[in-house]
Symmetry: C2
Subunit: 88 residues, 2 copies
Amino acid sequence: MDTVTILGLAAAACTTFAFFPQAYKVYKTHHTRDLSMPMYVIFSIGILLWLVYGIIINNLPIICANAVTIVFCIYILAVMVKNRGGKT
Amino acid sequence: MDTVTILGLAAAACTTFAFFPQAYKVYKTHHTRDLSMPMYVIFSIGILLWLVYGIIINNLPIICANAVTIVFCIYILAVMVKNRGGKT
């Protein structure tokens, strides 16, 4: 594998797993007041589109990276929706 | 432009501009307590790697998308670092 491909994979790994610490923080504290609901709605739509795009062009790295990210995003979004009433 | 390319561009637009409402919320409230510092550190590193990757393979959409995202991320991260003392 060439250096450029490794660089691309490292970039994909960072932007994919970056959402884990945020999802973990939300899981531990249940606080989402400072998080932007529009950000997570738009980002989740984007990730879903990436997933469909990856499936259509049959690109496994795109499918895998976005399948992981969508789990974290949907979880964070679900807690935000749940917190809306309580304004936590 | 074919439908699949448009789908990819729509996906890129969503995941790029999703950070704008979060950056705007941070700008308005200056509150970052519920945001995960490790997320923004890892994500910013990832975006920087994507930027370098885009420059090396000379791919304008990758360069543009990540050049925009890095501005929002670095701004959010800067406010988080500034808030660290005050725990806002």
